[in-house]
Amino acid sequence: MTRALWTHLVKDLRIEWRSLDALISMLFFSGLVVVLFSIAFDPQGSFARQIAGGVLCVATMFASVSALNQAWAREIRHQVMDAQRMVPSPGAELYLAKVLANFFFVTVVQVALAPIFVVMYNLRIVGNGWLLALVLPLGTWALVCNGVFFAALSIRTRNRELLLSLILFPIFIPALLAMVQATNAILTGESDPTLWIKMLFGYDILFTTVSLLLFDVVFHAE
């Protein structure tokens, strides 16, 4: 890990630690989505287990957009972003630091959300529960690595907060499908999640590589 990446990462974590803006809004929002879904679908018994994976993933996805929107927006004040463009270190390090920071935030939200989720949906995990510790981070990484990239892309447009969701969600669809299928397979124990985990892994590698390669182009676009 190089020094520029470390500096950016520590800075982002420190800002978040002092304000807790992203974490609180994400937690509250995802909690709301979980409550809304359980009111809308009245989940009980095996039905709860079938939809739980989807609800958890979609709640995370909606909630993370609020954090991703702030990821670059807070750099605009005092022309911090312009300063970052002039830094001689490659933009990929800045990008990676942002991804790591936001990955950490979303993971904290998921860990905090899990108990509420289990209680509200009366969940009993039938399959290999420990595999969730692999599926959720992989899915979160897919979401965050694309999200940070597209947030940087949409930051200089009109309607940027809306545009982020509009361009992120279509690209994220295959990862969402794999994440939901794998989570459902684990919760219900009815099928084997291996194929979906492999797919998430491939998606992560592919999109992280493309983002790292193209980030400088987007960051210095003018």
Partner: protein, 236 residues
């Protein structure tokens, strides 16, 4: 001379489309299993082919723009115009596919829609390129072209993954009719002939619109450049 070529091309295209319509409606035989509704294939499949090829043009244009935007500005602008034209006309043809598909599916399968590999891929493709066009609308200035080109590449990278993931998920759409080894594949020549005529006609029509859109975009770029130059000169 140029005008004559355009008119000639348009006339040939319209003639081809009339010929294709005649073949599809009056000459081609009914399908043994599906009857009349089968004739929608003569619009559904050609539109899909055209849409997918134009999205490929968008990818080539996007990569070309990113590769040449520093050294060859003029060439980069041409690539960008091709990328825009490909995405826009592609979305129109993709919309036709998404409208004709459910109409056919309702009669052939009894359902309007199913989350099958090819249906989902087409829908996601449509969503991605609509978001591409939205980005072009919301972003301003020369940076928009760079941002759009990057999104074009992301969209193209996503398509094979969407397709594979849905294949593992579920598949209902019939397997490829041509170049397929599955049983029941292949088509009687009396139908394939009509399909090829219609494919040619719709391809000519698509290319005609594509080229028109390209030149309109080039004009827009030239006007923008001229305005920028005037603004610079009036400041002196």
């Amino acid at each position: 001379m140029k005008k004559f070529a355009v008119v000639l091309y348009a006339a040939v295209t319209v003639a081809l489309m009339i010929w294709g319509f005649y073949q599809a409606m009056y000459v081609a035989p009914n399908d043994a299993m599906q009857g009349e509704i089968f004739r929608i294939i003569y619009y559904h499949v050609p539109s899909a082919t055209v849409a997918f090829s134009f999205f490929a043009i968008n990818l080539v244009g996007s990569i070309g723009y990113l590769a040449s935007r520093r050294q060859h500005v003029e060439r980069a602008l041409k690539f960008d115009a091709w990328a825009l034209a490909g995405a826009e006309v592609g979305v129109v043809f993709c919309t036709v596919v998404l409208i004709t598909g459910p109409i056919w599916g309702r009669r052939a399968w009894g359902i309007w829609w199913t989350w099958d590999a090819r249906l989902t891929t087409t829908l996601v493709l449509w969503l991605i390129y609509v978001s591409y066009l939205l980005l072009r609308r919301f972003a301003a200035g020369p940076q928009m072209q760079t941002l759009a080109a990057v999104l074009g590449i992301f969209g193209a990278v996503d398509v094979p993954i969407v397709y594979m993931s849905n294949r593992w998920w579920r598949t209902q759409h019939p397997s490829p009719v041509f170049f397929s080894s599955s049983p029941g594949a292949g088509m009687a020549w009396s139908m394939a002939r009509v399909l090829l005529w219609n494919m040619l006609a719709w391809f000519c029509w698509g290319v005609f619109i594509l080229i028109l859109r390209y030149f309109v975009e080039r004009k827009c770029q030239q006007n923008a450049a001229a305005e920028a130059r005037e603004a610079l000169e009036s400041n002196d």
